[in-house]
Amino acid sequence: MKPFVRYLWVLTAFGLGVGTLYWFIAHEVTGAVLLWAFGLMPLIVGLWALRHGASRNAPVAPEDDPNADPSTDAGTSVGSFPAVTVWPIFFVLGLLLAGAGLIYGLILVPPGLALAAFAIHGLMRESRQ
């Protein structure tokens, strides 16, 4: 099992455990729900990781092998990194415009959301190249 999944189980146990303890001590709903949600978050990620190859029987990854040599995964593709991109800036501008619309007039919301959607589309296209 990948070590990080183990950390996720510990987090799950802590969040659910303390949430339950808090509920029995304080009988206060908001805090208990927050703590239980804290426990559920790593549970969801951990289950997803298990379904995608982080199980106990998976081979030890080079980063988890204390004796691994730097050349162990030489040649492994890590994808391509974009040097520059403008789409995140357009996305943020779209959010700002939509947010300003909530304060100054709803007419600004549709163009703001459209700009954000356009930026997301641009990001997706760029990441597929």
């Binding site: 206060e28 980063e63 092998d65 995964d73 391509s80 040097a83 991109t85």
Partner: protein, 539 residues
Amino acid sequence: MSTAAAAARREHSGVVSWLTSTDHKKIGVLYCVTAFAFFLVGGTLAGMMRLELADPGRAFFEPGTYNGLFTIHGTVMIFLFVAPFGSGLANYLIPLQIGAPDMAFPRLNLMSYWLFTSGGCLILLSGVASAGGGAQMGWYAYPPLSAGRMSPGVGPDIWILGLGLVAVAAVMTAVNIVTTVFLYRAPGMTMWRLPIFTWNMVIVSILGLVAFPPALAGFALLFLERRMGGLAFAPAAGGDPVIFQHLFWFLGHPEVYILILPFFGVITEIIPVFSRKPLFGYTGFVLATLAIGALSTGVWAHHMFTTGAVDNPFFAAMTLLIAVPTGVKFFNWTGSMWGGKIVFPTAMLFSIGFLLNFLIGGVTGVMLAAPAIDFHAADSYFLVAHFHYTMMGGAVFGIFAAIYFWYPKMTGRMLRERMGKAVFALMFIGFNVTFWPQFEAGLRGMPRRVVDYPANAGYETPNLLSSLGYVVMAVGVLFFLADLWVSKRKPVEAGDDPWDGYSLEWATTSPPPEHNFDAIPPIRSERPAFDLHHEGADG
């Protein structure tokens, strides 16, 4: 994962390439520079407050304006300076420390930077240029004070929007850091060989993922209440304002650890290097940090003792428990120095200053964890002093330590040690002259967030000292800016490893190449760069 497999990037230069670059190092530097600019703004606001409070009698500001000053000062320092500076360091250092070519999600990284910057600008705008009234309700914006009737105008709305963007940016950064560290480590860089700074940032990121969404929900409900007639916090309609306090402090207290843990990590990188020893008790240190992170999610309502609506013994016990792992860390730090060949460059001085200041902040925190004392000291200057001893004396000293330690790696140039020591002396003396008297003022009963105070109530001397101390600190910051300028104008080459450092970033060039490493050395301990540079020697 091999850096040899990293895809090539084309060389880019110029301002536009900096602002659109997805290189984690450039984004890290942008974060740090932007956050430091916000620090200068927040510090100026603090100076305006100290100017008003130097003497009894109102001299410069209307009460509402003063409320705006401390609201924006608090928001800026917490959300726009200390936390993002930690994010900037993490962006720059984590891939270097774990042997990765970049962060896992480079575009998301750039997006989070722009969300942070634009949110920060909105927060500043909310205080100064808002028709009908700026944000004047304090950095935690409790309803009903923050509701539309008590805080009219668009200022609070812009403030909420800005804070929302900053919070989303923090969540994005947290996702990026956790994914990068879990999945992008170099061969041999097991979790138990991670540099302590990286470990701390993983824990900080998980805390951020847990803590920011509830606060975002709280602020969204507040926004709905202000703009669209929402009733979540209106008691007359069945709402409950205490729910907002729960949602806010479920972020607000872990946030204190989100702010301080990166700089626990920073000084833990620095102290062993300048003591010429390995870190004392690596495993215990990591477990203590995990314990602090976990416990910090169960202490939020110690900020709500005086509401009478929470279980005080539960939160007092959880808060006192945090002192145990924090004490373990102090043993680690002193143990690392004990018997070492200690040298005192500026980064080490700031680290030791951190220890001394944070110890005072921590001990007064333990005092405030007892509800009986908290009832007496709540909303007094005692609390202000305690908070600033942890955040300014701790985190900000950690930031200066980090700058003096990693500036040579980031730029290839050294800062001047003599100027650095002058900066430290001015900051350390100025800080303690500013904030120690505030303990005294608080114990004498001076409430915080007041624009004026009565003469002959025992508040004058502490306040005058505080204002004088601020001036000394401000001179220290000016010295620091001068140090940066001198380093730029008359560069002294740093070399790749000027401190004989321990972690992996010291095994590459200064500044590092775009893909970070030409070759990653074998990683056989938590000090791979030291192992590389002292191969064959006893060490």
